[in-house]
């Protein structure tokens, strides 16, 4: 598909901060993939099907029909704890901004998917490991509040290492804030669909990721509350292969479907269709009241 103008403007570099002319090695099968081909294949290994992590704007371009109107871009992070360890927090942020071309770990806005107007939030692991601080919390909340005003369904792609340490309790409180926004959004009869991508853990998995009406996940995405290392330290043994993979969660009944990336847009379109038809059906019935 042709790269829309907004994406061309947004994307100086690809999600990993690398030039598109480079080669990438598949972490799963070791195949060397030309990044232009990889991008054309939605960042899925053409040999083994491994799903690479994908940048927020790349993701948006594979999902929305055309235009995408970003909101919350002006929300910029503070440094509430005046955090500084090896580097100061502002320096860390500046580095990630430079490397990823993103202003923060989530991009939120409005667009169409298969002709359906939606609110869309996309997290990006390349910015501070997709951790949720005040900006992520604020942008997601703004997205849900505006979606509530507009009576639109909301789709959120998660990718997160959890809450952001450098914002301390302000980060933890974003779980409460986004939960509040989710409850108002849902109480108003709107549908929330989340797509869990690799990895989705900690504060994000323990809030909006698992508060949705319908929960999709990408193949082999690592999804859980505690990180693998923490669990292994706790139980003092190695975890089995596939533990916390999307397929494991499906088998244990936690999520609705595992969807390959190439089928993701059409799957979302079908669910948006059910949602729209359901709302219309209800409205027709209530019209007889």
């Amino acid at each position: 598909m042709p790269m829309p103008e907004w994406l061309r403007v947004r994307r100086g570099k690809d999600a990993g901060g690398r030039d598109a002319a480079q080669w990438s090695k598949c972490a799963e099968c070791g195949e060397m993939l030309y990044r232009r081909d990889l991008a054309a294949n939605l960042y899925v290994c053409s040999r083994c099907g491994h799903h690479f992590r994908i940048g927020a704007y790349d993701r948006i371009s594979t999902i929305v029909d055309g235009d995408f109107t970003e909101i919350g871009g002006e929300v910029q992070v503070g440094d509430p704890l005046q955090w500084s360890d090896r580097k100061s927090y502002p320096v860390k942020l500046a580095g990630d901004r430079e490397k990823s071309g993103l202003s923060e770990a989530v991009v939120c806005g409005f667009g169409q998917i298969g002709g359906f107007d939606v609110a869309l939030g996309v997290m990006d692991f390349h910015f501070r490991g997709g951790t949720m601080g005040t900006v992520v919390g604020e942008r997601v909340t703004m997205l849900l509040e505006e979606a509530t005003r507009r009576h639109l369904p909301c789709v959120i792609f998660t990718a997160s290492g959890g809450a952001r340490m450098e914002e301390g309790m302000f980060a933890l409180m974003q779980l409460a804030k986004t939960t509040a926004a989710v409850t108002r959004f849902m109480a108003d009869g709107n549908a929330l669909i989340t797509v869990l991508t690799d990895p989705t853990t900690g504060g994000v998995s323990a809030s909006f990721a698992f508060q949705a009406d319908i929960i999709l996940a990408e193949p082999k995405a690592m999804i859980g509350f505690a990180g693998r290392r923490v669990i292994e330290q706790t139980i003092r043994q190695k975890l089995p292969e596939g533990f916390q993979a999307a397929e494991f969660l499906l088998e244990h009944g936690h999520i609705d479907i595992v969807v390959e990336r190439r089928l993701l847009k059409e799957t979302l379109v079908r669910f948006l269709d059910y949602t729209a038809k359901g709302a219309a059906q209800r409205a027709r019935a209530e019209a007889h009241a």
Binding site: A191, F210, G253, D256, Q281, R282, A285, E286
Partner: protein, 324 residues
């Protein structure tokens, strides 16, 4: 056990011979139509003899017939189906299948109990006996349907809820009891179809509905005939006797007002024309939804309440008023 087995074999043998003759007469100029006619007449005779007026116990076996269309065949007849999995807590119980779907352009949530169509699938599906995790999946989907404004369409086909150790450990009673609440309070139309065996509370958990459709030779009862015989007489082998006592046929239940509508089956049962039966059932569901979809939620709930409120209230209805 199966009272049809011998004569079903005879029918299969006749079918095979008729087909052979047809093939032969197509290949060569000899006219074999009279021979074929004789066999076909005999075939129809046996068919009527066996299936013309099945006893309740024979119906139980028709309802359990391995080739009788299962929930997945009905689901395959929908315009579109996106399966949704799991109870969000522990497991995705394979004895129940559910998801969002389109039926004649209408968006619905479809949920069906699924027995296996062979031994391997039977093990995976636990013979269609749903565990607490499965009923919690059903309840979750009923809530989803309510949230999204999608009518609920269920296909009932189970001997009963799973009676295993882990089902008791995981609160089977609570799971069913809460399913009953979910269906009672769902603010969307519900249409249930009894497509095979409807056994006890495990079936009812998917069958509180604004309209209940039942196939001509399906059964629906307070307990399986085997279970009933064991409970009353301590002898499960008296199941045939229990079957005739239980009034478990579609005709009985239509008469009682517990089932709203009967969908006819071909002579010999749904397994003789699965796609035709599936189509007819889906048409009935569609027609029911068409009528129900003009009811605002509050009227729908009031009507559902009254429907169940009336069942077995005869004594009260004739009692003197103003008791309190």
């Amino acid at each position: 056990m199966n009272p049809f087995m011998d004569r079903e074999k005879a029918l299969l043998e006749l079918e095979r011979r008729i087909a052979e003759l047809r093939t032969a007469s197509a290949d060569q100029p000899v006219d074999m139509s009279s021979e074929i006619g004789v066999l076909e007449t005999k075939y129809q005779e046996i068919l009527r003899d066996v299936y013309g007026a099945p006893t309740p116990w024979q119906k139980v076996h028709m309802a359990r017939h391995p080739n009788r269309p299962t929930s997945l065949e009905y689901i395959a007849g929908l315009d579109r189906f996106d399966e949704l999995h799991g109870d969000r807590h522990y497991e995705d119980d394979q004895a129940v299948v559910g998801g969002a779907a389109l039926l004649r352009g209408r968006a619905i949530v479809a949920i069906g109990q699924q027995r296996g169509r062979d031994t391997k699938e039977n093990l995976r599906r636990n013979f269609g006996m749903v565990a607490p995790e499965g009923y919690r999946k059903v309840r979750r989907l009923a809530h989803l349907a309510t949230r999204l404004g999608l009518p609920i369409v269920t296909f009932v086909d189970t001997k009963g809820a799973d009676p295993g150790i882990s089902s008791e450990e995981h609160a089977q009673s609570e799971a069913i009891a809460q399913c009953l609440i979910a269906f009672t309070t769902a603010t969307v139309p519900i249409v249930a179809s009894i497509i095979g065996e409807g056994g006890s509370g495990g079936a009812l958990a998917l069958a509180i509905a604004d309209r209940v459709i039942m196939l001509e030779h399906s059964t629906y009862s307070v307990a399986s005939p085997e279970g009933c015989a064991a409970i009353l007489w301590g002898d499960a082998s008296k199941a045939d006797e229990a079957a005739s006592h239980l009034k478990l046929t579609a005709q009985d239940l239509r008469g009682f007002g517990i089932v709203d509508e009967i969908v006819p089956e071909p002579l010999g049962g749904a397994n003789r024309d699965p796609s035709g039966v599936v189509t007819r059932v889906l048409e009935k569901i569609d027609a029911a939804l068409e009528r129900l979809e003009t009811l605002p939620a509050q009227r729908l709930l009031a009507q559902r309440y009254e429907k169940y409120r009336r069942i077995g209230a005869w004594a009260r209805e004739t009692a003197p008023a103003g008791r309190f």
